[in-house]
């Protein structure tokens, strides 16, 4: 319980302080990094508690159950919180080493961590919305980081599209209250069974659209390439590695966790959309020229795997979805962060990331891909297996196109007058490459020793299928 409270209070309190201070000063930047490190440590303790002793939950402010705000940490929420905060830590580290360009950056990253922890660790639908907006507001401002024309344009697009998504979510929340008369997730999950099917499906579709916009799935992806490609590398890493986790978590929490019946009804649609995402993202990534844009389309393709796994469902499918979300967050963080630094070490790190995205054995991506393939085999669908293989082949192709252009043609780069390259000022100091290299080593370590990850995602899937012990108060 202490760890649960601390995981929210630490980033929240320090974040408020950091926003006031000048983030361009080195000490303030490092204070942000230390805070995020402390948050990750607290979440680690919380995760150990949850995995050992089941769900941790308490009502804030000592209110009776049903009146106060319920905070609830189960295996699913803790896994997502831990991976998102870790990505934030890596991005903060990388940006502080390169030199922070705007005063609010450390504070915003820390506040984003507070918002994300809040929404991953709550048991109430409306509370989820409040933390969701809190993290999104931090993300809107972060998108504009750098202050250039391209970044501002990206921020306007990101903010307007995602605000629309947020309000659709809010309408769905109102619908949930209308049809069930409650907003506690466990109660909603129980009472939704007696709700007329039409109303329940309408509400479920509202949630699905809201989270798909956040995740950038195929028919809702239109904002994503511009935003990921035009923001600074550290911010793109945060958006694709931490903020997009909201969508994946939301799909899992509200899909199998609350609207289980509706999810079964729409499984075919979800699998079709996921497959479309995989192929669309892969093909367009191959067709693009700028690395950041290729990575952005790659992000659209990668989330397709998560949706396919959710659509197939069952313990295997949900475990694969959780595993793939975590792996994808780390992959994307690594790949976007490498675009800010240069050198042979970074090239090596990029190769690890590329192998991981394509699912080649020594990297952890292999474990994720394997889990999704198992899901497809479980669904007894040869078409799906073929689609997944094509998607993986495409990702290997576009990532090595990037590698060839970015790391082999080192001399040609000097001639390029691309504004992004000038902005990013390729850094050559050894210390600046540390976050990227650490992430790469972690991806390799996860691939060599995947048992902990597999165990955690299995426990998270148990929460969703209702076989976990201790479902909260």
């Amino acid at each position: 319980m202490t760890a649960l409270a601390l995981s929210l209070l630490v980033p929240w309190a320090v974040g408020l302080l950091l926003v006031v201070l000048d983030g361009r000063r080195r000490t303030v930047g490092w204070l942000g990094v230390v805070t995020l490190g402390a948050t990750v440590a607290v979440l680690g303790v919380l995760a150990a508690d949850v995995l050992r002793g089941g769900t941790v939950a308490f009502v804030t402010g000592g209110w009776p159950v049903g009146v106060g705000i319920l905070l609830r940490a189960d295996a699913l929420g803790v896994t997502f919180a831990l991976s998102s905060c870790f990505v934030l830590l890596a991005a903060a580290c990388a940006e502080t080493l390169l030199g922070v360009g705007q005063r609010t950056l450390p504070g915003l990253l820390v506040l984003l961590a507070a918002g994300l922890n809040g929404l991953f660790l709550t048991g109430d639908v409306f509370n989820f919305y409040v933390f969701f907006e809190m993290s999104m507001i931090a993300a809107y401002v972060l998108t504009g980081y750098g202050g250039g024309r391209a970044q501002l344009r990206a921020a306007v697009i990101f903010a307007s599209v995602n605000l629309l998504g947020s309000f659709i979510f809010l309408v769905a929340v109102a619908g949930t209250y209308r049809v069930t008369g409650t907003l506690a997730m466990t109660d909603v999950a129980e009472r939704i069974r007696e709700v007329p099917p039409n109303a329940a499906v309408a509400v479920a579709v509202g949630f699905f659209v809201a989270f798909s916009v956040k995740l950038g799935l195929f028919p809702f992806h239109y904002w994503l390439p511009t935003v990921y490609a035009d923001t600074r590398p550290a911010v793109a890493a945060v958006l694709s590695g931490a903020v997009a986790n909201i969508g994946a978590y939301g799909l899992l929490r509200f899909g199998p966790g609350v609207f289980a019946e509706q999810l079964r009804l729409s499984a075919t649609v979800l699998i079709a959309l996921g497959a479309a995402s995989i192929i669309y993202g892969g093909v367009l990534a191959v067709a693009r020229h700028r690395p950041a844009e290729m990575l952005a389309y790659s992000a659209i393709g990668q989330v397709g795997y998560v949706l396919v796994a959710v659509g197939v469902g069952g313990p295997v499918g949900f475990a694969a979805a959780v595993l793939y979300s975590v792996v994808n967050a780390l992959n994307k963080a690594l790949l976007f962060l490498t675009s800010a630094v240069r050198g042979p070490l970074v090239a090596g790190a990029f190769v690890v990331g590329a192998l991981s995205v394509a699912g080649v054995p020594p990297a952890v991506g292999f474990v994720g891909k394997l889990a999704v393939f198992r899901t497809a085999v479980d669904a007894r669908s040869p078409t799906l297996v073929v689609l997944l293989v094509v998607g993986s082949a495409l990702s290997l192709l576009y990532l090595f196109l990037i590698y060839q252009r970015e790391f082999w043609a080192e001399e040609d780069r000097e001639a390029v007058t691309d504004a992004e390259v000038r902005d990013a000022a390729p850094a050559r100091g050894v210390s600046r490459r540390v976050p990227v290299v650490v992430l790469a080593v972690l991806l390799l370590a996860g691939g060599v020793w995947p048992e902990p990850l597999a165990a955690v995602s299995g426990a998270a899937a148990d929460v969703l299928t209702g076989t976990a012990n201790g479902a909260g108060p």
Partner: protein, 127 residues
């Protein structure tokens, strides 16, 4: 009453969606503001019950449901904050790009983003 509220929410969403598709960024922001109001009207409509204000309830008599009111208040505050942020963003865009038209933003885009745009405003990138 539910029908009236549903109609009001539908009109607000429709008007908001129409404005969202306009070229002027100020209209886009207005559209988002209208859609946020649609969400709040929907929340109020989600539990309509006639009764006295749910503060210091006395014996007997129906009470109106306090939860949607609390939700609507919270949503209003969040909506206002995001609206202020969005307006500030548009203001920054007007200062940097010198225009509040969505299509003109694309024209001053960074070279290479769309593939074939000419290299313009080379020096303006850092200010």
């Amino acid at each position: 009453m539910t029908l009236a509220i549903a109609a009001a929410a539908a009109v607000l969403f429709g008007a908001g969606a129409y404005l969202l598709l306009q070229r002027s960024l100020v209209r886009v922001v207005t559209g988002i503001a209208l859609i946020s109001q649609c969400a709040i009207v929907t929340i109020i409509g989600s539990s309509l019950s006639q009764g006295r204000a749910p503060i210091d309830p006395q014996e007997g008599g129906p009470l109106s449901d306090p939860l949607p009111q609390a939700l609507a208040l919270t949503a209003l505050v969040i909506g206002m904050a995001t609206l202020a942020l969005l307006l500030a963003l548009v203001h920054r865009v007007v200062v940097t790009h010198g225009t509040a038209e969505r299509d003109e933003l694309r024209d001053v885009d960074r070279p290479g983003a769309g593939g074939d745009e000419a290299v313009r405003h080379e020096g303006d990138e850092t200010e």
